[in-house]
């Protein structure tokens, strides 16, 4: 039944987005704004010209990595809500290698290649280590990852706030280890020129498209391959679907649990590195605010499929990019975007609602299954 598959795979998600946009419009009207102007602003800001489209793609890039991080955990049966913490750890470690390690190999191209690689690696390692701790705790003590990863988000933000502390001369407190010594703002020094992700397209306007988008696509394909075409991926999915069965068949559930969190954390760290090395060229506070939580919705929207994440991250990137223009043009606060995102997720997850509204026949299939309760593995 090809037509039924098209309805399910394309038709229902599109109708979900459409319905969520309509309901968002009702909220806009209720608050006394003009929905047409608001959505026009949103579309303009996201796709209106080359600069807008570039902004959308730049916003999309870290969401691909962080969405993959969440999805990878889901496939292994782990709900990694700690992507936010792993992400900021990665953005700081990549900034550290970016400013503190001069790479001069004579040839500027070679230096850039090596330095960018090392800084990306540092981001991945930073995120991976931060993800490994909850993974180890889960594997060896049974402490539930939903709780520990959230706790590690807060621990990470405190740790980074200490590392980047601007200092207080009045109280005689020196600046943090990674602060650039400006005395006011908690930020790292600028990364060296060689650590900046190369720009691949630079339209007029403030934003330039960096190499990260290209890397994000490669990462999505690589994760798809890893999950579906390797022994490790098979073991990962088996642990995710039925960990007792996996254990009886001789798979080390502990090892898979830790590895899942390490890889998920590494992907999250890379998401942070994209912001540091491609956009801000340093770590600044709040540069990645909320990215780790949007990632959950991005992954859920794509049913954790790596290629689907490219699409949902593009959608979210567009909404992020267009939100500012929308607020500027129509006065509608950007938070309406979040409301629409929540509604999209709701309709995609509960396709029965959409089938009821639009009288689409066919049996609603049970949506994706992620939670296995708080059960042990």
């Amino acid at each position: 039944m090809l037509s039924a598959r098209i309805v399910r795979g394309v038709g229902l998600p599109l109708l979900s987005v459409f319905t969520a946009v309509i309901i968002g419009g009702i909220f806009i009207i209720l608050a006394g704004y003009d929905p047409i102007a608001a959505y026009q602003g949103l579309l303009d800001g996201a796709f209106g010209d080359a600069a807008s489209l570039t902004r959308t793609l730049v916003k999309m890039t870290p969401l691909v990595f962080s969405g993959l991080a969440v999805a990878f955990g889901f496939k292994g049966g782990l709900f990694n809500i700690g992507v936010q913490g792993q992400l900021i750890m990665g953005s700081v470690t990549s900034a550290w290698i970016g400013f503190a390690l001069p790479v001069d190999l004579g040839d500027p191209v070679l230096s850039t290649v090596v330095h960018v690689f090392l800084a990306l690696l540092a981001g991945a390692v930073g995120g991976a280590l931060w993800g490994a701790i909850p993974g180890l705790l889960k594997a060896y003590t049974g402490a539930h990852e939903v709780i520990t990863t959230i706790m590690f988000n807060y621990i990470a933000s405190n740790l980074i706030s200490w590392l980047l502390y601007a200092g207080s001369p009045a109280e005689g407190i020196p600046p943090g280890l990674l602060n650039d010594g400006n005395g006011v703002i908690a930020r790292t020094p600028s990364i060296l020129q060689t650590a900046q992700l190369p720009v691949i397209y630079d339209p007029p306007g403030p934003q330039a498209l960096h190499l990260g988008l290209f890397l994000a696509v490669i990462a999505a394909v690589f994760i798809l391959f890893l999950m579906n075409r390797t022994t490790f991926g098979f073991e990962l999915r088996m642990v995710g679907l039925n960990s007792p069965a996996a254990r009886y068949s001789g798979i080390s559930v502990k090892r898979i649990t830790v590895l899942t969190m390490v890889i998920s954390g590494a992907l999250a760290g890379l998401a942070g590195a994209m912001q540091t090395l491609g956009v801000n060229y340093r770590y600044e506070p709040n540069q990645s605010l909320g990215l780790g939580f949007d990632a959950i919705t991005v992954a859920l929207l794509a049913s954790s499929h790596p290629l689907g994440i490219l699409v949902s991250a593009f959608l979210f990137g567009a909404m992020d990019a267009g939100g500012t223009r929308m607020q500027f043009n129509s006065g509608v606060p950007t938070e309406i975007v979040m409301v629409v995102q929540a509604l999209i997720l709701m309709f995609v997850a509960a396709e029965q609602i959409i089938r009821m509204i639009y009288r689409i026949r066919g049996k609603a299939e049970v949506g994706q299954k992620l939670s296995t309760g708080w059960g042990q593995r």
Partner: protein, 355 residues
């Protein structure tokens, strides 16, 4: 099958009560020891700050127990709290305008309506969670994420900067004691001088514990969380009870939310719940899905939070960021070291089909 599970649960429940009592005794001894070292003012300040920090966490954990005991995982507590905090605050703002009749502006009416409104909105969010998970069989984690995102978006969208109110909840009982009364004065400073919601919370914990383990409703609720098929066979309407309990769950989370805007802080800020709903889940697991255990966990967490503000009295030079990590580190250590593999209600997180 069901009966052995219930017997085990009862044994665990008795153990939890003993553990809680021992914990309380130890805490009192520690408080006395500390009082001789740093003076009673500091100790009372730390205890009061602990209670203030514990109330929303305890209510969030109760909310979690209500839903998980009924077989529904609720990670939307954060959103339910935030939404209720906003609505309670905005009703308080609305009723504080000059043009509103004086009868409505009077403190008990205004604040009573604000609390009721916030709690009701929390309950409605709970019903939305029930509708999605029970009726439409949406994955419980996804539904919770929808609720959290929706609440963060809606409250941010409708946020009015600079809105003011006619004031927050005053202490429900004022202490008649003076410092001359010695120890009783300090006990009075801890037990009295609290707002209405604090007392409501204590009452709720006791009532909920009795209801869960000593009433027909409690037996049915635990049954549908452990083995809905068996409960269904015995004539319990599983889905109806889930709707009811999720409404309660939302109401209790809502009370935690309005505590923030009507009793503790007095104003609303974007995202002000700041992870409390998730911490409440940790506390729920720490308390092994038992209201008293969760209450003890909430106090422990409140204590770690309170230390942040008070550590300067002890003259210890640690960067404040590390002190800020304390509650979170403590939760992780407790989860990993002491609780081990917690056993949730057996059917929590799974959908149930009536045959």
């Amino acid at each position: 099958m069901l009966s052995t599970v219930m017997v085990e649960a009862a044994a665990r429940s008795r153990r939890t009560i003993w553990m809680t009592l021992i914990g309380v005794v130890l805490a009192v001894v520690a408080a006395f020891a500390a009082a001789t070292a740093v003076g009673p003012e500091t100790v009372v300040a730390v205890i009061n700050a602990s209670i203030r920090g514990a109330i929303p966490i305890a209510l969030g954990a109760m909310s979690g127990i209500f839903s998980e005991r009924s077989g529904v995982v609720n990670i939307g507590i954060e959103g339910m709290m935030l939404m209720a905090a906003y609505v309670g605050f905005m009703i308080n703002v609305g009723l504080s305008y000059g043009s509103v009749p004086a009868a409505l502006q009077a403190e008990p009416v205004r604040l009573g309506l604000s609390i009721a409104g916030g709690v009701l909105v929390g309950g409605l969010m709970g019903l939305l969670h029930a509708l999605l998970t029970v009726r439409f069989r949406v994955d419980h984690i996804i539904s919770g994420t929808v609720i959290n995102t929706l609440a963060l978006g809606l409250t941010g969208y409708l946020y009015l900067p600079g809105a003011t109110t006619g004031g927050r909840l005053p202490p429900a009982v004022t202490s008649p004691l003076t410092p001359d009364a010695g120890l009783f004065y300090w006990v009075g400073e801890i037990v009295l001088e609290k707002g209405l919601i604090t007392y409501l919370t204590v009452l709720l914990i006791i009532v909920f514990t009795i209801a869960l383990f000593r009433t027909a409703w409690g037996l049915r609720t635990r049954a549908i969380g452990e083995h809905p098929r068996a409960a269904d066979t015995l004539g319990i309407n599983v889905h109806r009870l889930q709707y009811l309990n999720l409404f309660f769950s939302g109401c209790v989370a809502g009370l935690g939310g309005v505590f923030l805007t009507l009793e503790a802080v007095g104003t609303f800020e974007r995202g002000m719940t700041n992870g409390r709903g998730f911490i409440a889940l940790a506390v729920m697991i720490f308390g092994k899905w038992h209201p008293l255990g969760a209450a003890a966990g909430a106090l422990l967490f409140g204590f770690a939070t309170a230390l942040q503000g008070q550590l300067q009295f002890f003259n210890i030079k640690i960067p404040h960021q590390f002190v800020g990590m304390l509650p979170y580190l403590l939760t992780v250590i407790v989860l990993a070291g002491f609780v081990g593999r917690a056993r949730p209600p057996a059917h929590s997180g799974k959908p149930y089909d009536v045959e």
